[in-house]
């Protein structure tokens, strides 16, 4: 049992303490009550005061609210007005936008119509251009220096003084008449026959074309105009066309290429110089092209012409026509390979006419020269990655008729006549377009062998040519070359250099 400190206190003390406590509580309780009451009264009073203040405030507020309300009402009204105005503006803007859009649509339509009209005009103009007469052509100027020993036979045909030369201008007149008909003329302005030489006994006579203008007493040298080509063509489709007129003989690579800007070297091959085939013929030419596959082209041609003659351009002096057939197969893929041939036969006749009698009138013909010729021409062209190899071989047989033979032009004495003979000619050209960007340089090498006649092999020349072809622009070509000519007998040996600037326009 523990000691409880409270139990130690006597009951009396407890009673006294309790009484004191009660008295104390009684005292403070009414006090607090009164305080509370007082507080209540105070708070009530305060509340009352506050209420009265509030009422006053409320009244003040009320009046202030009312004025605010008025203000708000006014502001609302104003806002409403502003809204209305804005709505009206918005409406106006919408109308304007709509109007602008419709104007824009109409401008776009007008623009499209204008573009359409311009495009139609552009097309019509191009169509007119296609059917317009077109002029274009080419020309060249050259410099040549031959090195020839004085005792060489070749001095008959070549000179050894260094010379500039501007002797030709080729002009094309080209007119596409309609979709199927076309006309082409090639006119060749030249200074010839100035400088042409002929052997007269032991004299070599030069042609001088100097003339005096009688109205001005001004002397000048005239040249001449030659019509190199003049044909009308009907070509409704690729596989058939017909030309009538004067056209380039469709053989080889060189004769077809034809222009000095297209031909790679300065000098043309000997087979062309010595006219193994006529460069051009007058008559009919049927031709066409078919495509057995997309990369294979087959060209064919048939010629029926006056053949070769002293004036075959305009008249045939005999009843025989020249007939030829052309076939060329070309593969055009990653590399290009073409093989071609042209076979020709015709009769050459040169004659004089004379009036044999007056009454009755009678004429005689005296045939000066007459022979039949057969010519076979074969060509090859290969191109790959800048390399170009072209080669032509020609074989020609000449059989004279009725002993009507010409003088042997290779005999300086002019005492012998031409025998029946055959001629062969071949050339090979190898060229390579250097893979240099923006500079089109093409070194080339060419070898020619020309046997004019099987009985004149000693004078048959071989020609080595080495040169450079520079295509300065698509229209300008400059070429320079060295050539060395030699023969078994040495009679035609010589060498030389030449350079040419060729232009197409």
């Amino acid at each position: 049992m523990t000691d409880n400190p409270i139990s130690k206190v006597s009951p009396r003390v407890t009673l006294i303490l309790s009484t004191i406590l009660l008295v104390f509580l009684g005292t403070i309780f009414p006090l607090s009550t009164s305080q509370a009451k007082q507080q209540d009264i105070d708070s009530t009073n305060q509340s009352a005061n506050e209420s009265s203040e509030t009422i006053a405030d409320s009244q003040a507020m009320q009046s202030s609210d009312e004025s605010e309300l008025e203000d708000l009402k006014k502001a609302l009204e104003e806002q409403k007005q502003t809204n209305e105005e804005q709505q009206n503006q918005y409406k106006n803007l919408e109308e304007q936008i709509s109007e602008l859009q419709s104007r824009m649509t109409s401008v776009e339509e007008e623009n499209e119509a204008l573009v359409d009209t311009l495009e139609t005009a552009e097309m019509t103009k191009l169509k007119e251009e296609e059917y317009k007469l077109r002029f274009y052509g080419f020309t060249s100027v050259s410099f040549v220096k031959n090195f020839i020993d004085k005792d060489k036979l070749v001095n008959l045909w070549y000179r050894d003084t260094p010379s500039f030369s501007a002797w030709h201008l080729n002009l094309y007149l080209d007119h596409q008449l309609d979709e199927s008909f076309r006309m082409l003329g090639e006119v060749y302005f030249t200074m010839l026959p100035l400088g042409k030489e002929e052997i007269d006994g032991l004299e070599i006579v030069r042609t001088d074309t100097t003339v005096l203008n009688p109205s001005s007493a001004h002397e000048f040298r005239h040249g001449s105009i030659s019509i190199a080509r003049l044909w009308i063509e009907y070509k409704p489709m690729d596989y058939f066309g017909l030309r009538i007129g004067r056209f380039l003989t469709p053989y080889g690579v060189w004769n077809v290429d034809h222009g000095s800007t297209v031909i790679i070297s300065v000098r043309i091959p000997g087979t062309m110089i010595f006219n193994f085939l006529p460069e051009a013929q007058t008559g009919l030419y049927a031709f066409g092209r078919v495509f057995p596959t997309d990369k294979l082209l087959l060209n064919y041609g048939l010629t029926f012409t006056n053949g070769r003659g002293p004036m075959d351009e305009i008249y045939d002096l005999d009843n025989n026509k020249g007939v030829g057939a052309r076939l060329r197969l070309a593969w055009e893929g990653k590399f290009r390979l073409a093989l071609g041939s042209y076979l020709y036969t015709g009769e050459y006749t040169d004659l004089n006419r004379r009036i044999a009698s007056i009454n009755p009138i009678g004429f005689e013909k005296e045939i000066k020269e007459s022979y039949r010729e057969w010519v076979g021409a074969f060509d090859l062209l290969f191109e790959y990655a800048g390399l170009r190899i072209q080669s032509e071989f020609l074989y020609k047989s000449m059989i004279y008729n009725n002993q009507k033979r010409s003088l042997n032009e290779f005999d300086p004495t002019r005492l012998s006549t031409m025998p029946d003979h055959y001629s062969t000619g071949v050339y090979t050209l190898i060229a390579y377009r250097l893979p240099i960007q923006r500079i089109e340089l093409m070194p080339y090498f060419m070898y020619d062998y020309i046997e004019f006649s099987n009985f004149m092999r000693d004078v048959a020349p071989s020609i080595f040519t080495g040169g450079l072809n520079w295509r300065v622009t698509p229209f300008i070509v400059w070429k320079a070359e060295y050539y060395y000519v030699f023969s078994r007998g040495g009679a035609t040996d010589f060498q030389g250099i030449s350079t040419q600037l060729a232009v197409s326009f």
Binding site: E119, M123, H258, T261, E332, E440
Partner: protein
């Protein structure tokens, strides 16, 4: 501070320019070839197209004359066509046409700014069926012309 800000902004711009995705260049595969809407041709081979545009082939098997129309020089379209079909550089093409002018008396195809409309107009105005041309796929209104398949070789 100002300097640093400018430097940072510049660096960001440089970074953006380096990693910016370049605009998609038109490729040759995006070129389509087309003819007049009522023309019978449905396909051509690439080699045939080349022969047409080099004017080695000038008539269709239907005997209609081929009218090939080129895009204007120096356009992206023309360059793409030249590279993929003609397989030539511009210099080579110019040389080719200059040589053809003298050799074969042939001139290059006409050029138009709008090749689609050109084919359409050739048919409408000149009543010629055989026009052919090319354009980028995205520029071709196929309701006025007919697309032609370009095959790599004959089937």
């Amino acid at each position: 501070m100002k300097t640093i800000t400018i430097s940072v902004v510049s660096l960001l711009m440089l970074l953006c320019s380096v990693i910016a995705i370049p605009a998609k260049a038109e490729s040759p595969e995006d070129i389509i070839v087309f003819v007049s809407k009522d023309f019978e041709i449905d396909s051509v081979t690439r080699d045939e197209l080349k022969s047409i545009y080099l004017k080695k082939k000038t008539s269709w098997s239907s005997k209609d004359r081929i009218i090939c129309i080129n895009a204007k020089e120096d356009t992206v379209l023309r360059k793409a066509f030249r590279a993929s079909v003609l397989q030539m550089s511009m210099e080579n093409e110019k040389r080719y046409w200059e040589e053809q002018k003298i050799k074969a008396n042939v001139s290059e195809p006409p050029v138009f700014s709008n090749t689609v409309k050109a084919v359409f107009k050739v048919r409408k105005i000149f009543k010629a069926k055989g026009a052919i041309s090319y354009a980028f796929r995205k520029d071709t209104k196929t309701n006025i012309v007919k697309t032609v398949l370009v095959l790599d070789k004959n089937k």
